[in-house]
């Protein structure tokens, strides 16, 4: 376990050093989500002025609450999509030859992919996370039933995101043809997960697809606990589903790593040079 934690920390630091050379890159992690949020907000805002909108969706009747709703969506999306990007970058290690050097070592493979995902999460999301929380607090938009709900919201966002990252890393490092996942998990992810629209407004089949992604339930918990003053009991269903998804993703990641490494050892496909 001690070795696994060292591997997680080392991998996260390596990931940071590989991808972040200039401080400007760090600030782009704030600018990009804020711009996305602004575009979404000003796109949705004119529509919310319609008389029926407020009746159907209470949040739409209050521009400040609408902004908070969208900001929560952008924050959670930043968490999850940063892991898609990290997995995409990790997959290039196979081509550059470093993945083979890593696989020569006795390091736990699961610890490696968790470390890679956790590193991406911290460096991509911390700035926007801080900004979003500070802005929401300053604008008095947070409605929290109990201070412990901050912890619930944070854990509900962080742990499934790390599991998601581990799963994606496991999937991408052994496959040469997984580039399509990058596209598949960009716009469709925010659509099916209810990042910019309330889930009730989506067709049933989209909601069903969305349930397979932990981002959907993470967002329900995040918005419920920080914006709607919900307690743990009220969020029990999404929390339970999120826990099940997280366990499933970690198990899938471990299985994929085992299967992928065994296959690579049989076929020699880990080597690209």
């Amino acid at each position: 376990m001690r070795h696994a934690l060292r591997v997680v920390a080392a991998e996260a630091l390596k990931q940071h050093r590989r991808l972040f050379g200039q401080p400007l890159v760090v600030f782009s992690m704030l600018i990009w989500p804020v711009l996305t949020l602004a575009v979404t907000y000003y796109t949705v805002l004119p529509v919310t002025g319609a008389p029926a909108a407020g009746a159907r969706w209470a949040v739409a009747g209050d521009p400040r609450r609408l902004l908070a709703f969208l900001a929560a969506g952008a924050l959670a999306y930043t968490f999850f999509f940063s892991l898609v990007q990290s997995a995409w970058h990790f997959s290039f290690e196979r081509v550059s030859g470093t993945l083979e050097a890593v696989f020569l070592s006795p390091a736990s493979r699961l610890a490696l992919v968790v470390g890679n995902g956790a590193g991406a999460l911290v460096q991509n999301a911390w700035l926007f996370g801080c900004f979003a929380v500070a802005a929401a607090s300053a604008a008095d938009l947070l409605r929290v039933a109990h201070p412990g709900m901050y912890v619930v919201a944070f854990v509900a966002l962080l742990v499934p995101a790390v599991a998601w990252g581990a799963f994606l890393n496991s999937l991408l490092i052994f496959s040469r043809d997984s580039a399509f996942l990058y596209t598949l998990l960009d716009d469709p992810l925010w659509f099916v997960a209810g990042v910019r629209l309330p889930l009730f407004a989506l067709p049933v089949w989209v909601k069903a697809v969305g349930l397979a992604f932990p981002l959907t339930s993470s967002l329900v918990v995040l918005r419920g606990s920080l914006l709607d003053g919900a307690r743990v009991a009220e969020l029990a269903a999404p929390l339970a589903w999120l826990a099940a998804l997280t366990v499933g993703l970690f198990a899938a990641a471990a299985g994929l790593l085992r299967w992928g490494e065994a296959r690579a050892a049989r076929t020699g496909s880990l080597q690209l040079f």
Binding site: R17, R18, L19, T98, L104, P106, A107, F273
Partner: protein
């Protein structure tokens, strides 16, 4: 428990390529290594030679746990490379030529620190070890420079340091001097010899056969994935019946001296060619398994001739490897 690396009837057949959504295989199975039984003891450098495609790299990849043998076994100090893969990885490391296997945006020190963490080198020791290795490979001054600013030789030296970060009991070297300048390659050879003297078991593959002759006490020769010969470099050269080439230039025109050398040629069975050099002197070329310089010079002098030049070219390991590879029937490859 047996010590050293031991392979018994080791085989690797690469299956034809198959995509997850198609059961139809493309291509045919490729046997890269067949029935290989070799031993790599601790404390010496063992060579693994052969032409391209002989199975050297596949063997190294099986020993380093990156490839799973199709059949047969390979053990490292009694630990099976499949069943005890994690324990084996702690005891070995691989250095491959070609400056890959390090992160270009990280500094040399950061690279070694990172790999040290993966090998679970104790924290206090790792700090010291990283400093020692950077010193050893001559990168101490560039320790905190990103690797992308290193020259090719510097990168390769860092790859070498990476391979030593876990203080391996066995080191597998796959063309480690590929692309290195002569002085750096020489330093690496000295380092390898020193490691072996300190008890590290080294398996070396290299296309620079002089390097192998200099370092290896024992050499295994592969061809078409099979072991075709083994022994010391001198034994391998002797096995292939390669010949010493002796060239003697005789001063003046002394027919008796040439006749005396003809007699030596007849007695020993050496092949003799006689011609004249640019200065019109008799030049005698003899080819024989043994070095005939002594008897030939003696015969020339006794016959009243004088020696202007004597040159002996002994058979090389390269000649032997080429001869062994040519001798293997095509069907076996």
């Amino acid at each position: 428990m047996s010590t050293g690396i031991v392979t018994t009837a080791l085989c690797k057949v690469f299956p034809p390529r198959r995509t997850p959504w198609s059961w139809r295989a493309r291509g045919t199975p490729v046997a890269a290594v067949s029935g290989l039984s070799i031993a790599i003891p601790a404390g010496q450098v063992t060579g693994l030679l052969g032409l391209n495609g002989a199975g050297k790299t596949t063997t190294i990849r099986m020993l380093s746990t990156l490839l799973r043998p199709t059949s047969g076994t390979a053990t490292v100090d009694g630990l099976d490379v499949v069943a005890d893969a994690r324990a084996v990885r702690r005891r070995i490391n691989v250095i491959a030529g070609g400056e890959r296997m390090v992160y270009s945006r990280l500094t040399g020190r950061e690279n070694l620190w990172y790999f040290g963490q993966l090998y679970d080198v104790p924290r206090a020791r790792l700090r010291r070890r990283v400093g020692e290795l950077l010193e050893l490979v001559g990168l101490a001054a560039a320790a905190d420079t990103p690797v992308e600013r290193y020259s090719r030789g510097m990168r390769q030296r860092l790859v070498i340091a990476r391979g030593l970060v876990n203080d391996p009991a066995y080191l597998l070297l796959d063309e480690p001097t590929l692309g290195l300048d002569a002085p750096i390659a020489r330093e690496l050879r000295l380092l390898v010899a020193r490691l072996a003297a300190d008890g590290v078991g080294v398996l070396l593959t290299s296309h620079y056969l002089a390097e192998v002759e200099q370092l290896c006490r024992h050499v295994h020769v592969l061809d078409g994935g099979r072991l075709v010969a083994q022994g010391s470099p001198a034994q391998l050269v002797a096995q292939t019946d390669r010949q010493h080439v002796l060239v003697v230039t005789v001063g003046g025109s002394v027919p008796a001296a040439v006749e005396a050398v003809r007699a030596v040629s007849r007695d020993t069975g050496a092949r003799l060619d006689v011609d004249v050099d640019e200065a019109g002197r008799d030049r005698l070329t003899l080819r024989h398994r043994d070095d005939l310089a002594g008897p030939v010079v003696d015969a020339v002098v006794r016959a009243g001739g004088s020696i202007v030049t004597v040159a002996v070219t002994p058979p090389t390991l390269e000649d032997a490897i080429l001869a062994m590879s040519r001798a293997t029937p095509a069907g076996v490859r």
